[in-house]
C-alpha cells in the first residue's frame, strides 16, 4: 500500500528512472528478439534428414572459430551409408559430396551472391533437404544440372558449371526452391574432396532417436550424430547465418541496455533516497523498522521496474522489426532473416528489467534503512558530505585495473589490444566517477572571482559533492567512450592504412566476381599474364595423428614437388626435424608419407597456415575447393581481364583491394562506435534531466531565499547552469585525459603487428576532433539545458510563494 502510494505520489520524481528503464528494456527486448530469431535452425538443405552425422572435430581453421572435422574416405563413408540404409527403420542414407561451384551464363555469374551460398552437391543430397522440385527433374548423366529458382534459368537452358578443376557445359534438367546446385552423383564424386556428412531419413513412423543411436552404432565413436533440434548445430558449420559483426552488435546492444538500466535506476533511486531523507525518517519515527523501509523501497523499485519493463516490452516488438531490417540493410544479418521468436525473448527482457531495477536500488535501500528517525525533526538536515572510505578503495582498485589493462594493451595481439584499451579507459573513468565526490568540490574551489555568485558557486559545490558527481557522470562516460572508441578506430585505421601495404605480394590481384574463389583455369590464365610466379593460396589442411594442421597450397614460394614445408612452430609441435619423412592423412582421407623441410614462414603466410605445400599436391588431395585469390605483377591486365571473364573472376589493383578492406572494417567499427555514442547520449539526456530536476526541486528553498535576498532571476538561474556546465566540462576533459593511456598503449601494442621485415612500425594516436568537437558541444549543451529548464520553471514563481511553500 505504502509503496504504491509513494510511487504514485512521486511519479514525476521517478519518471527519469522509469523512462530510461523503459527504453533500456525496449532495446533489450528488441535485441533479444533479433538474437532469438537469428539463432541457428536446421538448415533447409537438411530439413528432411532425421539424423545428421559428421566426423569428430580435429581442430579449428585459421580464423580460430570454424571447426575443422576429421575425414572419412569415400569408400569408408559409402560402406557405412549402405549399412545404415539397409537397417530397420531407415528409409535412406546419403554420404554427401559437397564442393565449391560457380554457374556461368557466358560471362555472367548466376545466382545471388549475397549470402555466399555457392554450394554444389550430388543429386542424392536433394533427398535430405526440404525444398521442392518446382519444374523438371533429376539430372541424368554428366551434362545435366538442377539449379535453384533464384538463378533465373528454366529447364532446357544451357549453362557452364565451374568447379575448382573442371569446366562443364550442362543443360538445366530441373529447378528447385532450394539453394544447392545439384549434379549427378558421379560428377559430384569427381568434384568433391571427400565425404563430410552422412544424412539419414528414417522410415515413416520410426523413432528418430533410435535411428540416431543406430547411426552412432554404425559410425562408431569417431562420429558426432545429431537428431531433432540438435541438427541446427550444422547451420553454423555450413556457413549459413554466422554473421560475426551482427552477433557482436546485438550482444553489445544487450550489454549496454543492461548497463544503462542498472545505472539509470540505481542513480534515480539513490538520489531519491537523498531527497526523501525526511520522509523516510518520519516513517522510521512512527514505527517503520529498517527492514520495512528497505522493503518499501524495493517494492517501489519493483513497481517502477514492472511498469517500465512492460512499456519497454510493448516497444520491443516493433523495435525488433526496425532493428532487424536495418541490420539486414547493412548486411549484418542474413537477408532471409525474419521475426521468428517473440514471447521468450520479451519475457527474458522484462525479467531482466525488473531484476535490474531491484538490483539498482539495493544499495540505495540499504542507505535508506540507515536513516535515523531523528532526521525527520530537522527541517533541512545539513548532512555532512564526507566521502566514505569504500569509495576511495573502490576508486583505487578501478584505477589499478585501468593501469593493468593499459599495460596489457601493449602486449596483446590486435583484437585483444583493442578490448584491453577500451577496458582500461572504462576502468579509469569508473575510478574517477567513484572518487568524484572527493575531488570535485576541490576542483570547484579553484573557480576564481570575488563576486557573490562565484562565492556561492564554490560554497554550493562544497556542500553538494554527490550532486556534482551525478552531474558530471554522463559527460565523463560519454567523453571516455567517444575518445576511446573513435580514437581506437582512427588510430588503428591509420596504422593499418600506413603499414599494411606490401602484405599481399604483387600490384594486382585476381579474385572471384562473387566473393568466392578462383578455379584452376582462372589461376593458370593469370600465370600466363603475370611477370614471375603468382602468389596464390589454396586453403586446405592435413591431419597428423588425427589433429588438424591448417595448410596452404602455393604457386610462388612452393616447396619442391612431393615435399611439405613446416613452420618451426609446427615442427616443434610434432617433433619433426629437417629432412624427416612424416606420416600424415590428406584432406581426402588418404594416407601419405612425405619428406618435410623446416623454415620460417613469410608474414603473408604466417597468419594463414602451419604447413605449406605445392599447389598441385594440395589440389591432388583437395579437388573440391577454390583457390582464395592470386596476387601478381601483371603483364597485360586488359587481356587478362577478358580471359578471366568466363571464369567469373576479375583483376583488381592490390592497393584498391586493401583500401576497400580497410574501409569496410573501419565502416563497421565506426558504425559500432556511433551506436554506442548515440545510446550514451540518449542516456545522458534522460539521466541529467532527471538528476538536475530533482536537485533543483530539492534546492527550491535555497533559490527562494536567494531571490528574497535580492538575487536577480537570471543570477539564480545562472548558478545551477554554471555548476552543471562546469561539471560537464570537467567530465569531458577528464574522460578525454583518461582515454589517452589506453590509446598510447595501443600504439605501442600495434608496433609489432605489421611486417617485421621493415622493423617496428611507427604508430601515433589519431583523434577525430571533427566528430568529437560537435559531440562535446552537444554534451555541454545538454548539461546547460538540463540545469536551465527546471531552474526557469522554478523561477517563474514569486520569491514569496516559494519561500512560503511547505515541503
Amino acid at each position: 500500500m505504502i509503496a504504491f502510494a509513494m510511487v504514485r505520489h512521486r511519479l514525476r520524481a521517478v519518471l527519469g528512472g522509469l523512462v530510461s528503464l523503459a527504453l533500456a528494456v525496449a532495446l533489450l527486448s528488441a535485441s533479444a528478439i533479433v538474437i532469438a530469431s537469428s539463432l541457428p535452425t536446421v538448415p533447409p538443405r537438411y530439413e528432411r534428414a532425421d539424423v545428421l552425422a559428421v566426423p569428430e572435430a580435429a581442430g579449428t581453421r585459421s580464423d580460430g572459430v570454424t571447426v575443422a572435422r576429421a575425414v572419412w574416405t569415400r569408400d569408408e563413408a559409402d560402406a557405412m551409408a549402405e549399412e545404415i540404409a539397409a537397417s530397420d527403420g531407415v528409409a535412406a542414407a546419403v554420404a554427401e559430396r559437397r564442393f565449391d561451384v560457380r554457374v556461368m551464363d557466358g560471362e555472367r555469374v548466376l545466382g545471388d551472391a549475397a549470402d555466399g551460398a555457392f554450394d554444389g552437391a550430388g543429386w542424392a543430397s536433394f533427398g535430405l533437404g526440404g525444398s521442392r522440385m518446382l519444374d523438371g527433374g533429376a539430372p541424368s548423366g554428366a551434362d545435366q544440372v538442377v539449379l535453384p529458382a533464384s538463378y533465373g534459368r528454366s529447364v532446357g537452358d544451357r549453362v557452364t558449371v565451374l568447379t575448382a578443376g573442371a569446366e562443364r557445359p550442362m543443360t538445366v534438367s530441373g529447378v528447385t526452391g532450394g539453394e544447392d546446385v545439384l549434379v549427378s552423383d558421379a560428377v559430384a564424386d569427381a568434384a568433391a574432396t571427400g565425404v563430410s556428412l552422412i544424412g539419414a531419413v528414417s522410415a515413416p513412423g520410426a523413432d528418430t532417436a533410435a535411428a540416431g543411436e543406430l547411426v552412432q552404432g554404425v559410425l562408431g565413436p569417431g562420429a558426432e550424430v545429431f537428431t531433432g533440434a540438435d541438427r541446427s548445430a550444422m547451420e553454423a558449420e555450413s556457413g549459413g547465418s554466422g554473421n560475426w559483426a551482427g552477433q557482436q552488435l546485438l550482444a553489445l546492444l544487450g550489454v549496454l541496455a543492461v548497463f544503462v538500466s542498472v545505472f539509470a535506476v540505481g542513480t534515480a533511486f539513490a538520489f531519491q533516497v537523498a531527497v526523501r531523507r525526511r520522509e523516510l525518517a518520519l516513517l522510521r519515527a512512527v514505527g517503520a523498522s529498517p527492514g520495512q523501509v528497505r522493503r518499501m523501497l524495493l517494492g517501489e523499485a519493483a513497481l517502477v521496474g514492472i511498469a517500465a519493463s512492460l512499456a519497454g516490452a510493448a516497444l520491443g516488438a516493433p523495435g525488433a522489426v526496425l532493428l532487424g531490417e536495418w541490420m539486414v540493410g547493412h548486411e549484418l544479418l542474413s537477408s532471409s532473416w525474419e521475426v521468428r521468436s517473440v514471447a521468450v525473448p520479451v519475457a527474458v527482457a522484462v525479467l531482466i528489467g525488473v531484476a535490474t531495477a531491484v538490483a539498482g536500488v539495493l544499495g540505495a535501500s540499504r542507505r535508506a534503512a540507515a536513516v535515523a528517525p531523528l532526521e525527520a525533526l530537522r527541517p533541512e538536515a545539513p548532512r555532512s558530505e564526507t566521502v566514505p572510505r569504500w569509495r576511495l578503495w573502490a576508486a583505487g582498485a578501478a584505477a589499478l585495473a585501468g593501469a593493468a589493462l593499459a599495460a596489457a594493451t601493449t602486449r596483446g595481439d590486435t583484437g585483444e589490444a583493442i578490448g584491453f584499451a577500451l577496458g582500461s579507459s572504462l576502468a579509469l573513468a569508473a575510478a574517477s566517477a567513484v572518487a568524484a565526490p572527493a575531488y570535485l568540490p576541490r576542483l570547484f574551489a579553484l573557480v576564481p572571482g570575488r563576486s557573490p555568485l562565484a562565492e556561492l558557486l564554490r560554497a554550493e559545490a562544497a556542500a553538494g559533492a554527490r550532486r556534482l558527481a551525478a552531474t558530471m557522470l554522463p559527460a565523463l562516460l560519454i567523453s571516455a567512450l567517444a575518445v576511446t572508441v573513435l580514437g581506437l578506430t582512427d588510430t588503428f585505421g591509420a596504422a593499418v592504412d600506413e603499414h599494411s601495404r606490401g602484405e599481399i605480394p604483387g600490384e594486382a590481384m585476381v579474385m572471384g566476381e562473387d566473393g568466392g574463389g578462383l578455379t584452376d583455369a582462372a589461376l593458370d590464365r593469370t600465370r600466363e599474364h603475370a611477370e614471375g610466379e603468382v602468389f596464390s593460396r589454396l586453403s586446405t589442411g592435413v591431419y597428423v595423428d588425427g589433429r588438424w594442421v591448417e595448410s596452404v597450397g602455393l604457386r610462388r614460394d612452393a616447396p619442391p614437388e612431393g615435399t611439405v614445408w613446416a613452420s618451426p612452430a609446427t615442427a616443434a609441435r610434432f617433433g619433426w626435424r629437417e629432412g624427416d619423412t612424416v606420416e600424415l592423412t590428406w584432406r581426402d582421407g588418404t594416407a601419405g608419407r612425405v619428406p618435410v623441410t623446416i623454415g620460417p614462414f613469410p608474414p603473408e603466410l604466417e597468419l594463414w597456415a602451419e604447413l605449406a605445400l605445392s599447389h598441385d599436391l594440395a589440389r591432388e588431395h583437395d579437388p573440391g575447393t577454390f583457390t582464395i585469390a592470386a596476387g601478381f605483377d601483371p603483364v597485360d591486365a586488359e587481356a587478362l581481364s577478358s580471359a578471366l571473364a568466363d571464369q567469373g573472376a576479375r583483376v583488381e589493383a592490390t592497393a584498391q583491394v586493401i583500401d576497400d578492406g580497410i574501409a569496410e572494417e573501419l565502416r563497421l567499427m565506426r558504425m559500432f562506435a556511433w551506436i554506442i555514442l548515440a545510446l550514451s547520449l540518449g542516456y545522458a539526456v534522460v539521466s541529467l534531466a532527471d538528476t538536475l530536476s530533482l536537485a533543483t526541486s530539492a534546492r527550491r528553498r535555497d533559490i527562494a531565499l536567494l531571490r528574497v535576498n535580492g538575487v536577480h532571476r537570471w543570477q539564480a538561474a545562472a548558478l545551477p547552469a554554471a555548476e552543471s556546465g562546469l561539471a560537464a566540462a570537467a567530465g569531458l576533459v577528464l574522460g578525454t585525459l583518461l582515454s589517452l593511456p589506453g590509446l598510447f598503449a595501443l600504439t605501442v601494442g600495434l608496433r609489432d603487428d605489421f611486417d617485421p621485415r621493415r622493423g617496428p612500425a611507427e604508430v601515433s594516436v589519431h583523434l577525430p576532433w571533427a566528430e568529437l568537437g560537435p559531440l562535446f558541444a552537444a554534451c555541454l549543451a545538454i548539461g546547460l539545458l538540463a540545469a536551465l529548464v527546471p531552474a526557469a520553471r522554478t523561477l517563474r514563481r514569486t520569491p514569496a510563494s516559494m519561500a512560503a511553500e511547505r515541503e
Binding site: 500500500m1 520522509e279 516513517l283 512512527v286 514505527g287 531523528l374 525533526l377
Partner: protein, 254 residues
C-alpha cells in the same frame, strides 16, 4: 521487555541521562545528568532556553534517540536493553508522536497517515478505526484529504489522531503548537489535554510557550542539560501563564 511493579506508577523514569552531540570538532553536552520521573496519566511540559537539552530529553524518552549514559524506562520497559528493531517496535506500540511540523507523509491521505503505525505493526486496523480516531480530533470529514489540502492545525490534529489510534500509553509532542495561531493552538491543546483526562494517557510536551505550559499538570525547567526546576502539583493544575513566564524569566536571569 520486563515490566516491574515498582515502576508501574511512573510512566517515564529518566535517571542521570548524559548525551553528547558532535558539533564540528567540539563535543556539546545536550544532556548532562538529567533525571526526571513522570507519573502515569499526567500532562507534563518541559521548558527551557534554546540548547538547554529539552528536545534531546524528549527524543530519548520517546525512543527516537539514545543517551550515552544513564537509564530510561518507559511504561516499564528499559530502553537501553532494546536493539534497533525492538526500539522501533517499542515506538510504534507504546509511544505516539506529534512534531512541530512535518508530521504527515504527503503521499498518503489523512486516514492512511492515521493508520500508518498500526499498519506497520501489522495490526488489524481498518478504515473505521482511522475514522474513529479522526472523529476524536474533529476531522472525520477530512479523512480522504491529502496533507497539502489541510491547514497546519488540521495536520497537527491528524498527527494527534495517529498518536491516539494505536492507544499508546505515552504521547510525546515537540512544540505541537509552534507553527499555529492562537485559536488553532488552543484546539490542539484541548485534544492533548483530553488524551490525558478522557483516555488516561501520559503526555510529555516540549514548549517555549507559557500558555501551553499553563495547561499542564506539571512544568519542568531545564538548563544546561539538567532539570533546573519543577513545579505544579501532580494532577492539580492551577498554573497560570503569567506565573510560568515570571518563573522562567527568573531562571534565565540566573
Amino acid at each position: 521487555m520486563n515490566t516491574t511493579p515498582d515502576t508501574a506508577r511512573d510512566a517515564i523514569r529518566i535517571h542521570a541521562a548524559v548525551k553528547h552531540h558532535a558539533a564540528g570538532a567540539r563535543r556539546v553536552a545536550a544532556l548532562d545528568g538529567a533525571s526526571l520521573n513522570v507519573r502515569e496519566g499526567t500532562f507534563t511540559a518541559i521548558m527551557g532556553p534554546s540548547g538547554s537539552g529539552k528536545s534531546t530529553l524528549l527524543h530519548c524518552a520517546a525512543g527516537l534517540d539514545r543517551p550515552d549514559r544513564g537509564s530510561i524506562t518507559v511504561d516499564g520497559v528499559d530502553l537501553g536493553a532494546l536493539d534497533e528493531r525492538e526500539l522501533t517496535e517499542f515506538r510504534r506500540e507504546r509511544v505516539g508522536f506529534v512534531f512541530q511540523s512535518y508530521n504527515l507523509l504527503d503521499a498518503l491521505t489523512a486516514a492512511q497517515n492515521t493508520l500508518l503505525p498500526a499498519r506497520l505493526a501489522g495490526a488489524h486496523a481498518g478504515r473505521r478505526d482511522a475514522l474513529d480516531a479522526l472523529d476524536l480530533v474533529g476531522l472525520r470529514d477530512r479523512a480522504d484529504h491529502r496533507p497539502h489540502q489541510l491547514s497546519g492545525g488540521e495536520q497537527q490534529r491528524v498527527a494527534i489522531a495517529r498518536a491516539l489510534l494505536a492507544r499508546p500509553p505515552v504521547i510525546c509532542a515537540d512544540e505541537p503548537t509552534g507553527a499555529l495561531d492562537l485559536a488553532r493552538g488552543r484546539q490542539v491543546l484541548d485534544h492533548l489535554r483530553a488524551a490525558v483526562d478522557v483516555h488516561g494517557r501520559t503526555v510529555l510536551v516540549v514548549t517555549h510557550d507559557p500558555a501551553v505550559a499553563a495547561r499542564a499538570d506539571r512544568v519542568v525547567f531545564m538548563a544546561d542539560g539538567r532539570i533546573a526546576d519543577a513545579f505544579g502539583a501532580d494532577g492539580a493544575g492551577g498554573l497560570t501563564a503569567e506565573g510560568i513566564a515570571v518563573r522562567m524569566a527568573g531562571l534565565e536571569a540566573t
